[in-house]
Symmetry: C2
């Protein structure tokens, strides 16, 4: 039906600064500190006056806020700007390269990875280790991860950074408490509370790797809008829905199950109980079967390699997967009207063979201008970066909290 296009009554949500703080003077102060920090972080070196005009406060107010942020080492003064206009040149402010850092970690089926990201968003330390984790018990995996984290933290501390929190991306479903892995099929973990296994040295967040990947796309992607659909395939096929700069998680945290959207209602039955789900056509197993290949560790690499070589069977399998994806995405796009669809994770690497049929389906089934499909530039790095950045965002969202923690 025709949805209206009104915006009027209910206004957009400002980036960053959450509404959790109470509406008291202290809360106001904390929100304004956050707004200053966010603004400087997002728009490069800026003078106090420029910040003031951007966030709608006076120069005097911004001055005191900046003083405080400098005292906390979250902001630093770069010195006078090169004057291009009349008037006294401002003093450029930039987010500090020292101080709090976000530690991101990733538990993959065949590897562990950890990195440290500073407030500017730069990766300052990292460590990766191959590690066959399929079916391995949580304890040794986490122990190995912990040593990797300690290594990265030590490296970061040498550059005057201190860890403000640890965020772990896992290939599975995570409970709303942000600590417990409910189910990770490829690791064969169930109801594992990572908070119990990791050292309690840092505030911990655990989330699904697809979610972190989508957030990375939101925060780091080139010109990625505040409203998009991030499709990835690691285990199954997941779509993260980003609306108004926020990840949509759903009532029970199950949002984004694109893999079980019906593509052909009378198709083959699926483990979920339905029939003809997308996963039956574009899931890893289905594509391998259609391509006539046998499962292996690096599936994506295998497929890409064979497709590259011109194997028609593989190409056809990917083409068909793209078609199925296109059908499912048509439904999603009609429902959500996102600004773009972004292919991430394994799909990014296979996009040369998926995209043509996918886009054909999507444009063919849409009346107006079709929703553009982009390929994530982050690729497999997304989840790790998203995790680390989620910690950084938390600092930017409430700098006073971390200042009181030092």
């Amino acid at each position: 039906m025709d949805t209206g296009m009104t915006a009027p009554p209910h206004e957009a949500r400002p980036a960053g600064v959450g509404r959790a703080l109470p509406d008291t003077q202290q809360g106001m102060r904390r929100r304004n500190l956050s707004r200053v920090l966010h603004t400087v972080g997002a728009e490069g070196p800026l003078s106090r006056a420029a910040v003031a005009s951007r966030i709608g406060l006076t120069r005097a107010a911004v001055s005191t806020l900046v003083d405080e942020l400098i005292r906390w080492e979250l902001l630093e003064e770069l010195g006078p700007e090169r004057p291009g206009r009349v008037g006294r040149p401002g003093s450029a402010l930039a987010v500090s390269g020292r101080g709090p850092a976000g530690i991101g970690a990733e538990i993959g089926v065949d590897h562990l990875a950890v990195c440290a990201v500073d407030l500017r968003g730069a990766v300052r330390a990292r460590a990766v280790r191959r590690s066959a984790n399929r079916g391995r018990a949580p304890e040794p995996v986490i122990a190995e991860l912990t040593s990797l984290v300690r290594q990265v933290v030590a490296e970061a501390e040498q550059e005057e950074l201190w860890p403000a929190g640890l965020a772990v991306a896992v290939p599975g479903l995570v409970a709303c408490d942000g600590r417990t892995v409910v189910r990770a099929p490829n690791l064969e973990w169930r109801d594992t509370d990572l908070g119990d296994l990791l050292p309690p040295d840092w505030p911990l967040t655990v989330d699904n790797e697809a979610n972190f990947g989508a957030l990375a796309e939101l925060w780091l992607g080139a010109g990625t809008p505040r409203e998009f659909l991030h499709v990835s395939a690691e285990i199954g096929i997941g779509a993260a829905v980003v609306v108004d700069g926020q990840l949509l998680r759903g009532t029970r945290g199950f949002a984004g199950e694109l893999g079980h959207v019906p593509v052909r209602p009378d198709g083959p039955s699926c483990a979920c109980g339905g029939r003809g789900c997308l996963e039956q056509y574009a899931g890893q197993e289905a594509v391998l079967r259609a391509a006539g290949l046998r499962p292996r560790e690096d599936l994506v690499g295998l497929l890409a390699e064979r497709a590259e070589k011109g194997e028609e069977g593989v190409r056809a399998a990917l083409r068909d997967a793209g078609t199925a994806l296109g059908i499912a995405l048509t439904g999603a796009v009609n429902l959500l009207d996102p600004e773009t669809v972004v292919l991430g994770g394994a799909l990014a690497g296979l996009s040369p063979w998926l995209l043509p049929s996918l886009e054909a389906e999507l444009t063919g089934r849409t009346a107006g201008p079709a929703c553009p499909v982009a390929v994530s530039p982050l690729g497999p790095e997304g989840p790790l970066l998203g995790a680390a950045h989620s910690v950084v965002r938390a600092v930017l969202d409430d700098p006073a909290a971390v200042a009181n923690r030092t």
Copy 2:
């Protein structure tokens, strides 16, 4: 008080009070006024102390806020509460039944309707007139509507209410400016700016009737959650997506086009360019054709009547429509994980014959507990009430704005 990290996955957003006001003391004051008003409105008669504990301010602060709201006639003192507990009983506060009112209007194909709703949410005046508007020029329709509005406003003014704004629900696509009807197929209007045709006496908002219907469901529905899918069928089939208490409009305002979600990818072609869209199976035309009936004005009534009489052809047609709806909704539910699906508009009246097959499809295709499907209790009143309430919400969201307008 360290909020620490972002309260991980699920971070509730406080109802109402938007973040548009600047973070200055005046803005803070205005937000707190709004929070007090919202709280009293939502949780019935409340003492100052009860409000204070709910919104996290001190009694003293709430006292001054309440004084101001009473001076503006937005709140009124009911007198001492009946004491059930120890201690001095509080003085009950309630939202005023006088003062600003929201005027809602609806332009239908065969009728015009207007109502006035007070801050308490009660309908205080209303007027309906049958009127064959299909293909009629905008000017006379709006003139007729205006006289109806004046009548309702006069009625409301006799009860010491004054109109705080006018919201108009139309069966068509509305531009983002909230004034212009881009396209209303059943009225045969195109690019009609209602702001030019209506008297400029009141702040105006125009929106699609389905959107207002969904908002009515959100604000008035019995126990309707902050996250649901509202499906309605007037012209085409539309789904309003409500996430976190907000209507999702999409980048271009086209969100919710459930009617063009592919149900059978190789099905009959559709005007949208696609094939096998839901509308081909559950749209009004399709159902009529399947039932072997000819178009008429009151389609829903006709279908319901025949189905009631036990005509197997009609029942089968509705059953099949339910199945198609179920398939499309399975996709939507998998993607969004809403708390419930609500059938509104024409679908509410036909639900007895749609629901069984719809729910069978939905539960059969979902692994865990299926998403419950409810029928809107508002029925055809939704859009009108939603329109009027949208004005009321605007007042509750920023009471200072209307106070400065009197």
